[in-house]
Amino acid sequence: MSTAAKTPAPGPVPGPAKNRIGLTQADYKGSKSTLCPGCGHDAITNSIVTAAFEMGLEPHRLAKLSGIGCSSKTPAYFMSRSFAFNAVHGRMPSIATGVHVANRELQLLGISGDGDTASIGIGQFIHLIRRNIPVAYLIENNGVYGLTKGQFSATADLGTRAKTGRVNEMMPIDLCALAIELGCGFVARSFSGDPKQLRPILKAALSHRGTAVIDILSPCVTFNNHEGSTKSYDNVKEHDAPLHDITFVPAHEPIMVDYAPGESREVRLFDGSRVTLKKLGDDYDPSDGMRAMVTLRQAREEGKFVTGVLYANPEKTAFDREMGMVEQPLSSLTLEQVRPGREALEEIMASLRTGAGAPVAAGGG
């Protein structure tokens, strides 16, 4: 697997292009998305499809994992030939841990949202990173709870206003800085509308033998776009009134950008607000964790989002090596391999008869 990323995508050939394992891009698609037209999450889904196709991933060797939210629904919208586990809210990391231990040959792609990860799920997120479970962990970050209609998540920017009119009073959690502080071996940030940047990052993450975190800014069409917002979507503004119906979700084109490494680019979100993306230059050295932390803090002070691979340490020992497990997936072990023989039971019974095996101590709370 870990070499897959290096295989170049095949050039155009007659008929639908096929990748190294003879599949077409269509083979990596899923069922029709039920997200709002223009949702950043759908753009990410497309990048995943392309990246997986270009890498020539074997669908049956990949498992899609997610929590709960609009973002967490997206695994249904790509790679329908792969197994998927849509868990409960915020607990996908523990599922990923179990799946990996049971079958270390499976490649894990985790999809989460900012609410799913930074609010309810921050604890499991941290322990996933600490264990360095090999999973490409995507956060489709829109700063709100989309599926429950736009409340703030723990990554909402200070001072933004929700559709309800409420203003967020708290500092956002920077999931990348957090991951780096926790020693995560691969940490990147990107933007849903920048497939050129996102695709290679996805490939690198999928090839990393440890937890790889990608925090992806992914605008929410619906809940950053409302009357009363200080900076409402202009051409809607004139007709503010009809939008009075809060159940109305106007159609939008996804926001796309295309800019070079080292450059900055201001992006206008659906509600007219602006974020400045700053792409790390080719000169940036992602092997220095301290440097990465400094870069993030500085950008934060400048009010910018740095995008790109912030930190990468491929050397980190993979979790399965730590566990000293057999090469073969535990899930495929036969009864003979896992049931000790009669002599083992006899040996144990003998020790229990004589007391040679000291009993476990009592105590605790």
Binding site: G98, A102, A362, G365
Partner: protein
């Protein structure tokens, strides 16, 4: 010396009162095992506080050639080492009892029909152990010597028991031997033997001594566990730790020496059950062990596992709640919360081991059932069964292979030409599953806790939802027949039926003998699983009054029975014990007695 009491042989309780952290375990185990080695049935119960050192702890050895191993309220022989509790400990001793106190422990006035031996334990150990700090530990061996003399335990056996424990640690062995001898000699020189003694018998044979948690761990190992995730919590930790120790030793690949298992200490119980579900979904035999608070934290995921149909084995070593409760006291109080755990219409499968042998066998059965039924299976043990020391016939090697349930291979899918994850193809409510990693293009499916149809596709359809839920109910009925049947012991002339489960069985056996000696013939049904096997109903139907004996306040099993058999609901009477100590036979005796008396007066 007071009037000699008739000598009782091989039927008494030895009670050692000390403080935890003082290291009396080796001493007590030595006593327990030396009697055991003399061919006499014994059991050991450890009553310990929820802290690490300095609080009162009691260890009770029941010696019973009749083979009764349940707790008894009264003790016959007390070793009082804890000054703080000595007064109460001694006051609790009855006529004819023997009391050994360490010199210096304050003595309350003691009626003359109790024998008190004040022994200078500390003085006796001084010459043996120079290091003052260590004396605190070795002093325990002195009372072993004293007790050995008073009860007539064969010193040879004491020495064997000690050697077995200390093994190669020669320095230790020597020091401890000396201490024992000191006690023994002091006894011989100064103390008259007790009115109850041990005499060699041949009642033990190849039997073993083991805690339920260790037995459960062994069962899991021979059941082929490949993954366990857990978070430390008393009284379940020792199950996970025993599992780790045994697997480390017996579950390595012969060639590479690599582990054919993985055990993970999770960050909490939500993560532990999540890991178990992930691993199980991916094809591992996965389990966890926990107790009350941890169980409550697993609630959301348990509902998921029920609805998405993922096998999982959860050992609940019950301690007494609610909430933190008494972490080191026993209970059978989690039944109702487990039976309907998590929101919505959920029903779960529970197994009730009552012996260490059950723990061993259910360690395997639980996996087979979980895989077969594709649902969480709870093994409802408790602190008494799980952490105390029980005598048992040696465990027998499993003759049956494991049952991984309905898993469709790629070949079978190819043959069938289709795969529907949630289709009831066999009419038993149990669908087929595949395992992630299978290559066949039709093998993959989407697992979710939201509404799904037979093809595991998302749906909110008001036709599909109830259809899937009804199948789950059907599957649950199938479980009645697959889960272990109850053990029914009918007595021809029995007027009342008794019903118990789990560790209560021990006191029950003894209580029935007591009742019989009072002329009350009883039948007994020992429940092994929920949902109830058809035999349970048949049993209830044949008795006008069925006493349900359990260790909780609310009569939780009685409630489950009433819900399951509304037409028979009026027949159930509850006998309840819930003070955190294991139930004893007399509590049952009294319960039945007074219950039957009422009956008479009512008529």
């Amino acid at each position: 010396m007071n009037a000699p009491t008739p000598i009782r042989v091989n039927e008494f309780n030895l009670h050692v009162a000390t403080v935890n952290g003082s290291g009396s375990q080796t001493a007590n185990t030595t006593l327990l095992r030396s009697i055991f080695q003399m061919g006499i049935p014994v059991g050991g119960k450890n009553l310990f506080p929820s802290n690490i050192a300095g609080l009162p702890t009691w260890f009770t050895i029941r010696v019973s050639e009749k083979g009764y191993l349940a707790r008894q309220k009264a003790n016959d022989f007390l070793v009082a080492l804890n000054p703080e509790t000595a007064a109460a400990d001694i006051a609790a001793m009855g006529p004819g009892s023997v009391i050994v106190v360490n010199e210096g422990v304050p003595l309350p006035p003691v009626p003359t029909d109790r024998t008190v031996h004040v022994v200078p334990l500390t003085k006796l150990v001084e010459p043996i152990v120079p290091d003052a700090r260590l004396r605190k530990l070795v002093v325990n061996m002195v009372y072993v010597g004293v007790v050995c003399h008073l009860l007539g335990i064969d010193p040879e056996e004491v020495d064997r028991a000690l050697a077995a424990q200390l093994g190669r640690k020669q320095k230790a062995l020597a020091m401890n031997r000396e201490a024992i001898r000191a006690g023994l000699e002091f006894g011989r020189a100064n103390l008259a033997p007790a009115p109850f003694r041990v005499e060699r018998r041949n009642l033990v044979g190849t039997k073993i001594l083991i805690e339920g948690n260790t037995a459960g761990a062994l069962g899991a190992m021979f059941g082929g566990v490949t993954f366990a995730a857990w978070y430390p919590i008393t009284p379940s930790s020792s199950l996970a730790e025993a599992l780790q120790n045994y697997l480390d030793r017996y579950r390595r690949d012969p060639k590479s020496g690599a582990a054919t298992f993985a055990i993970l200490q999770a960050e909490d119980e939500i993560a532990a059950i999540g890991m178990v579900l992930g691993a199980s979904w991916a094809g591992a035999r996965a389990m966890t062990a926990t107790s009350g608070p941890g169980l409550s934290l697993m609630t959301e995921f348990i509902g998921y596992a029920y609805y998405a149909e993922i096998p999982a084995v959860i050992w609940d070593i019950q301690r007494i709640g609610p909430s933190t409760g008494l972490p080191t006291r026993t209970s059978q109080g989690d039944l109702l919360s487990v039976a309907f755990m998590s929101h919505g219409d959920t029903k779960h499968v529970m197994l009730f081991p009552s012996t260490v042998d059950d723990c061993f066998r259910y360690g395997m059965t639980a996996f087979d059932l979980a895989d077969r039924l594709q649902t969480p299976v709870f093994v409802m043990s408790d602190l008494d069964l799980g952490m105390n020391i029980w005598m048992s016939e040696p465990f027998t090697y499993p003759e049956k292979p494991w049952d991984r349930g309905k898993v469709l291979s790629d070949e079978e899918i190819a043959r069938l030409g289709k795969f529907e994850r949630y289709r009831d193809s066999d009419g038993d409510g149990i669908p087929y599953r595949t395992v992630p990693g299978q290559k066949h293009p039709l093998a993959a499916y989407f697992t979710r806790g939201s509404g799904h149809d037979e093809q595991a596709r998302y749906t909110e359809s008001s036709e599909t939802y109830p259809r899937v839920m009804d199948r789950l109910s059907k599957k649950y009925d199938t479980a009645r027949r697959l889960a272990p049947a109850p053990v029914v012991d009918r007595t021809p002339r029995a007027t009342v039926g008794l019903l118990s489960y789990g560790s209560t069985a021990w006191a029950m056996e003894e209580a029935r003998d007591l009742l019989r000696s009072e002329g009350i013939e009883t039948s007994h049904l020992l429940l092994k699983a929920f949902p109830f096997h058809p035999d349970v109903r048949a049993y209830i139907e044949s008795y006008e009054r069925v006493y349900v004996v359990e260790q909780n306040r609310d009569g939780q099993m009685a409630s489950l029975l009433r819900m399951d058999m509304p037409d028979l609901a009026p027949r159930f009477r509850s006998i309840l014990h819930y003070d955190g100590l294991p139930i004893d036979a007399v509590t049952i005796l009294d319960g039945v007695r007074s219950g039957e008396r009422e009956e008479v007066t009512v008529r």
